[in-house]
């Protein structure tokens, strides 16, 4: 009764429209309130913009060899200094950054997606499917990466080159290879989470309500098992960027004159005491990328966690 008595004679009687917030919008709102996550997103956006548009704005060529300017510290002409052939580091970092970031993110996505699917499938089912998937995981974990890499590249390089061109073909191959060797830890971690979460009360409750296994997984278990997945994702980005440079060192990646960040670090390592700036900038770039992705990951996790009040 008290509810239908209006506070004042002029107040409107019609009920207010129901205010519905979708979970997605709710998550976004929570994400926005997470200051570090926003900072991370901003840094990442800046980095991506820099490497995407930078070469258009900073037009010094990346392979202009100038011995007179060898190993110079940062200066106005060369804001990040030069390497041992006198090439401008800023231009090289902007150009190589595209590849590093693209490879890092793409390989990470592959590792995380494949790992999550395999881990979820193994964790939800029991018996034969679990055993088979774990056998597959063990197999991939046991494979020696280098001979396998040589074999894959040797088998598929020409076919891909004919299909999509040299650079795209190389990119697909590298991303597949790097991502293909990083999904196993994610699968094991996700499976472990699933094994534990599967027995928890809220899942049992959902089952009792008639949720199909798929719905149980997607709406209940998966969001709660994302913790290690997010951490793995961020570590994989750093890993992928470095792995690409190791591949190129072995002749299996991009040609050696393409200045990806990992490659720059590798080239600079012997001259660390003579020209520290050469290694400092790519190292800092990788660090910042990792940092920003990590904070975004933290923000995501907090935004999706229903128990945290923000």
């Amino acid at each position: 009764m008290a509810g239908s008595t209006l506070a004042s004679p002029t107040a409107s009687v019609a009920p207010r429209a129901a205010y519905r917030v979708s979970p997605g919008a709710e998550a976004w709102r929570r994400f926005r309130r997470h200051r570090l996550a926003l900072a991370g997103a901003l840094i990442l956006a800046l980095i991506v913009l820099a490497v995407a548009l930078g070469p258009l704005l900073w037009s010094v060529p990346i392979n202009d060899i100038d011995f007179a300017a060898k190993l110079q510290r940062p200066s106005w002409g060369h804001p990040l200094g030069t390497d041992d052939l006198g090439q401008d580091l800023l231009a090289r970092m902007l150009y190589g950054g595209r590849i590093s970031i693209a490879v890092g993110l793409a390989a990470m996505v592959i590792a995380v997606v494949v790992g999550t699917i395999v881990g979820a499938a193994a964790g939800m089912s029991r018996g034969a499917v679990d055993a088979a998937l774990m056998w597959l995981t063990d197999l991939f974990l046991s494979l020696p990466q280098l001979p396998l890499l040589l074999l894959i590249i040797y088998l598929f390089r020409d076919a891909l080159k004919a299909l999509v061109g040299t650079e795209a073909g190389m990119f697909i191959l590298i991303v597949a290879v790097i991502g293909g060797f990083r999904w196993m830890p994610v699968a094991r971690l996700v499976r472990a989470q699933f094994l534990s979460l599967r027995e928890k009360e809220f899942v049992e409750a959902a089952r009792a309500l008639g949720a199909t296994p798929l719905r149980q997984v997607v709406r209940h278990i998966l969001p709660n098992s994302l913790g290690p997945v997010i951490v793995a994702g961020t570590i994989d980005v750093a890993n992928a960027i470095i792995a690409e440079s190791t591949l190129s060192f072995l002749g299996l990646g991009f040609p050696p004159d393409i200045p990806t960040w990992g490659r720059l670090l590798f080239d600079a390592k012997d001259l660390l005491d003579i020209a520290p700036h050469w290694a400092l900038f790519p190292g800092a770039a990788i660090f910042l990328t990792v940092l920003s992705i990590n904070y975004i990951g933290d923000g995501l996790r907090d935004a999706l966690d229903p128990r945290k009040v923000m």
Binding site: L36, L151, L189, A238, L272, R307
Partner: protein, 319 residues
């Protein structure tokens, strides 16, 4: 549980065989030639090279070579290295103690770093300690080991001259001096590897503890009046350990052949450097033997991890 263990062990054998077939096929098909150095030597006539290939059975079909290899393995003959002309098991045994010491210690160091720091950082999320710990963790795993290794060498060996950086497995001292010398030379490789590993593990531990620390039973334990430490250690950590156990189990086999870069930089004569030099020299028997042991360890440790899940979280069942 007993039946589960039995079933897993029974499955382990055929799965091992399956893995060994795939491994062997990959190695046989991968490009590269064990006698390549001879190829560039003008004084070695082509017939000698052909002879050597025939002698080591390199020209036979892959299936035949596999059968021969597995039969030999089961008889305890692990093969004969093309490059060193020595039995493979001798090669591996020579390097085992150093590997276990250096690489094993680094994993222990990583765990000792990751657990306390990760747990403490999670109990005070976004505090100063947490921020600093996180930053160091990010730096730790964004820098590759070849880089930090060289950095350490520059600082500690060259600038400060405190530590030697070439690892020598035979030191002529005795008594406590032997331990001192050994410790000095092992410090940097252990630190480089341990810090790199510890950095990523810290993040996982922190994330795992964060997941658990807000659950109801923790609040219950606190409200029962238990001290914070007791709450953390007895209730939180045990439940947060599942991802940690997974990771440690994944990492254990890597002791046997994983730390390639660190072993290379510090010249630690471990199994990792044996593996990489065999791969580059296409010394198939050695590669096969090492990767086979590696796969046995992978299967073993993953089985142990699965068993530990059951102990850590009693609700997990496999039936």
């Amino acid at each position: 549980m007993g039946r589960y263990v039995l079933r897993r062990l029974l499955i382990a054998l055929p799965s091992l065989i399956g893995i060994s077939i795939v491994l062997f096929a990959v190695l046989a098909l991968a490009p590269g030639d064990p006698f390549e150095e001879l190829a560039t030597n003008p004084n070695v006539p082509a017939e000698v090279r052909a002879n050597l290939r025939a002698k080591f059975g390199l020209d036979d079909p892959v299936a035949l070579r596999y059968v021969r290899w597995s039969a030999a393995m089961m008889n305890g003959d692990w093969g004969f290295s093309f490059v060193s002309r020595i039995d493979v098991d001798q090669l591996i045994l020579q390097r085992l103690p150093v590997t276990l010491f250096v690489i094993g210690s680094s994993q222990v160091l990583a765990l000792l770093i990751a657990l306390p720091i990760g747990v403490y950082a999670a109990t005070r999320p976004y505090s100063l300690f947490d921020q600093i710990a996180n930053t160091f963790a990010f730096i730790g795993f964004s820098l590759p080991t070849f880089f930090t290794g060289i950095l350490f060498i520059l600082v500690f060996s060259i600038q400060l001259d405190w530590l030697p950086f070439v690892y020598r497995s035979d030191i002529a001292e005795t008594g406590w001096r032997w331990w001192w010398e050994h410790g000095k030379q092992a410090l940097m490789p252990i630190a480089v590897l341990g810090l790199f590993q510890g950095a990523s593990w810290t993040r996982y531990v922190r994330s795992a503890v964060l997941d658990v620390i807000r659950l109801d039973y923790v609040t219950t334990a606190r409200s029962k009046g238990l001290g914070e430490i007791a709450v953390v250690v007895k209730h939180v950590v045990r439940n947060a350990l599942i991802p940690v156990v997974t990771l440690v189990a994944l990492q254990m086999p890597a002791i046997f052949g994983g730390a390639i870069v660190t072993e290379q930089i510090f010249r630690v004569p471990g199994i990792g450097s044996l593996l990489i030099s065999s791969i580059l020299a296409n010394d198939t028997p050695v590669i096969m033997a090492v990767t086979f042991v590696f796969s046995c360890l992978v299967i073993l440790f993953n089985l142990l991890a699965d068993l530990l899940y059951g102990w850590l979280d009693p609700r997990i069942s496999y039936s």
